[in-house]
């Protein structure tokens, strides 16, 4: 199973700053391992962010996102105590959902 994300969510002025670290190999399908075999493509394809029960961000990604992806977003109108729920799904159907509370 995929390792947990690290989510940081903090109020800065009138908006919440959300930063997330994801544990994922983001294999392009071009890389060869030490034995010379091509490592199959394995990358996150879709990401959603919900704040306070509402979908605020949804996106799609390709293999050119760096390994162990890092994303930063900003949400206006959120407040301390709101729950942030982030979800990703990759091209093999693996997925992961984690949450944090805005501080």
């Amino acid at each position: 199973m995929a390792d947990p994300m690290k989510i940081r969510a903090q109020m800065k002025g009138d908006s919440a700053e959300i930063r997330v670290l994801m544990s994922h190999p983001m294999e392009t399908g071009q890389r060869k391992d030490n034995a010379g075999n091509v490592v199959p493509a394995h990358f996150i394809q879709s990401i959603t962010v919900d704040v306070g029960g509402k979908r605020v961000i949804q996106g799609q990604t390709g293999p050119a996102i760096s390994r162990n992806p890092v994303f930063g977003f900003k949400v206006k109108g959120a407040k301390a105590g709101d729950k942030v729920v982030i979800n990703w799904v990759d091209n093999k159907g693996d997925k992961r959902t984690d949450e944090a509370t805005i501080s």
Partner: protein, 157 residues
Amino acid sequence: MDALRRTLIKGAGATGAIAAAMAAGVLKPSQVLAAEYNRTAFEAKDVAGALKGVGAGSTTESKDIVIRAPDIAENGAVVPVDVVSNIPNTISLAVLVDKNPAPLTSAFDFANGAVAEMALRVKMGQTSMVEAIAKTSDGKYFIAKKEVKVTVGGCGG
């Protein structure tokens, strides 16, 4: 909620019913099926193809999109890119790396207070333009570019 329906990534597979259900609070967000993966855009081998894939037929250059990225990347495997659109009613952002084998890196839609701004890290195989595309709620596309030099490429892994 309407905003999410007309944006870059949902072009391919959005159904009004899901968006409406979300808006009405019928479905919990986690139960909503992700929009179908926009394979056409992500597998396009050049910028023109990628733009077409996300529905951006024509784009207008804009100084109101700010790209923050290094002039020279220390390592092409991890190039930090920040994009902010100051164009009113921006509902989506996409980031492309011209010279990558497949230029489109990601596309995000913003709604319910999410600001048209994002930070991400991309792989770059060689020196290239990094492009940011912003889509506004009236269906217009804007573009900005910045060159990033790469001495140590990052597409090996």
